[in-house]
Symmetry: C2
Subunit: 415 residues, 2 copies
Amino acid sequence: MKRTSRDIRTANRYEVLRQIIASSPTSRQELAAATGLSLATVATLVGELLDLRMITEVGFEDSAGGRPRGLVAVNASGGALIGVDIAETYVHVELFDLGLNVLARAEEDVRPGESLPEQVVGHVAAAVGSVVAQAGIEGARVLGVGVSVPGQVDRATGISEYAPNWDWHDVPLLELLTEHIAYPLYLDNPLRASAVAERWFGAARGSGDAVVVNLGTGVGAGLVLGGGLHRGVSNSAGEWGHTTIVLDGRLCRCGRHGCVEAYVGASGIMLTLRELSADSALLHPEDQTATIDALARGVRGRDPVALKALRDTVRYLGAGIADLVNLFNPEVVVLSSWVAAALGEPLVTEVREAVARHALPRPMAATRIVLSPIPTDPVCLGAATFALEGALQSVGQRQTKRTAAPARSRTAPPS
Amino acid sequence: MKRTSRDIRTANRYEVLRQIIASSPTSRQELAAATGLSLATVATLVGELLDLRMITEVGFEDSAGGRPRGLVAVNASGGALIGVDIAETYVHVELFDLGLNVLARAEEDVRPGESLPEQVVGHVAAAVGSVVAQAGIEGARVLGVGVSVPGQVDRATGISEYAPNWDWHDVPLLELLTEHIAYPLYLDNPLRASAVAERWFGAARGSGDAVVVNLGTGVGAGLVLGGGLHRGVSNSAGEWGHTTIVLDGRLCRCGRHGCVEAYVGASGIMLTLRELSADSALLHPEDQTATIDALARGVRGRDPVALKALRDTVRYLGAGIADLVNLFNPEVVVLSSWVAAALGEPLVTEVREAVARHALPRPMAATRIVLSPIPTDPVCLGAATFALEGALQSVGQRQTKRTAAPARSRTAPPS
């Protein structure tokens, strides 16, 4: 609320590092032009990043008639970041260098019966151990681990307040993880992780206002507003999946009726398929991934049931996204998460048409609707970005000594 | 997007003036404590406001053991601001001093047949002339006129792009007004005017994230996010009235089906009444104001049809506001505009219960739902605030010479 010069300094530090990651090697002059910041501000921020060894000096370029300009680039080997995507049916873990290139990945299945926090934490610990071993790096070089868990999360305390799929209430997830993982930990949820990934590296780069629609088992909207992540007053903004689209409609797993998620989440789509054709070969009972993959193949093969299921889903999805366009008036709506990735371009094409039918002309004219262009798991990438932001944040803290402690493990990294 | 120190300086200038208006007389030290800004920054901003004669030095207070502290206060007579609320059924105009106290007001009825821009402009010109005459002030002291018109507005060009009630498309409203009004003009819509009024003077004072729900003939949501007004990329954010709440439901005047406005706007409520009891004495065909007033009296008198109509309306309204709570996770939801004011506390009480049934527990726990506490027309007050912001903005422009021109009339104020 009370925006301080410190907030803007943090935002500017992110902006400069984003730009360096996107266009290494680059000069301070180019960075000033790209970010709109003054050359003096850029020079200060570049100096901080050099001190942190997140970037390095990599030589000079001639500038016509002037002094040669110093070039900087991401110091890819200056540290490693780990992103953890805990989903309802899997745990994905990726290890990145500081250029956010994937150096190693690991995946564990979460089976339908495995709903205890300890079981999920076990999968995370195994996969984190695996990526560190695969990458062959020293533990001391891991700057942090970002962890995304579905549902409502209290970042400051590291508590998973409510995870609907496993009916978790107030699970001290960060504390449980700390018993297995000795790096700084940052907890948040997939809506915010995927929004941050699009903002730093995807379709919302350079966008002030963007909505990242997550279509998976759960459904929600990550919000980039005014150039930053909108978290809301208790870090629970973006629960678009529980918007009422059909008053007194289908029962949702949240216990209410007619929510968007009950129609466009993976199990909502399965229910639509079952209603269309109870013995459809597309249906793999108890297996969301296999069903959505079969649906995607069916759509590409022009299977009539698959096409009808897609169209019925988009009837709800299009109306729901039109509501987001009317409310936020964003530059871009990004379709993300595994259901959107599986259904791909046929989904986006239908969604564009449906949104255009429902949205008001003025906000519609200003909005692009695209698939996430991030080739890997956007939630892993976003979670790793939270760890990167955490590492950048701690600079600010040492310099200004005036913020609350971030959510991180209380044990030191191993030496 | 590229936030600059200029943006933050403007936001801080607003914050300091807001604080001075709220707590005149006050000292620079108190302002620094209240805003979280440094004393040096406050001193600079106070200096600018003194130069503008928007505030004055009003003496000293003793500070225990230190030097006496200089006190400043709003220079109420330093200028006048005019706010114009063009609504579907009326034009309200209020003239304010710089403390935002009402010095004069005028009202004109807009009759159902009067849908031409020239007719509406005529009402505005007459009412503006009336308030200036009533207040007996010199024209040169009017710093600006903020004008709110329903629908989609392009502030930069002063064009009413779409006003559904009169089916206006691309009406050059500011140009038409300039023929009659020689003060600087600022055009926007009632969603944004009422949001700014709550942010400066109402229930969202000090709130980073607030949603101002406007319930009138039209319905929408003014958004205060991260402490500032969220406009979206083409100034059309907040069109919550055209959120689909009942897929394939009632026809809305926007041409689509099942919009929130079709159930909770004034004519939606009239339709609900008619469906409940076609010959109800509460119904005043063709007169929304009389009908809503009769409904409000009926609710207070425990009339069964009135109570049922309220409950049916709140069924939709509660679900729709719950969606806003889930999406934005705001500190406060403010119910504003004339339908909310007429129905008053009985409405808010029912809405609170309905929202609690629909919203997710975590965002719900963080949100207050209140009636607008602004005793006068919040849209006039907000429109006048746009004129005040415009006057403050022009300081910044003279100093930094680097912004787009604001939407204002091209004629100079009269001497």
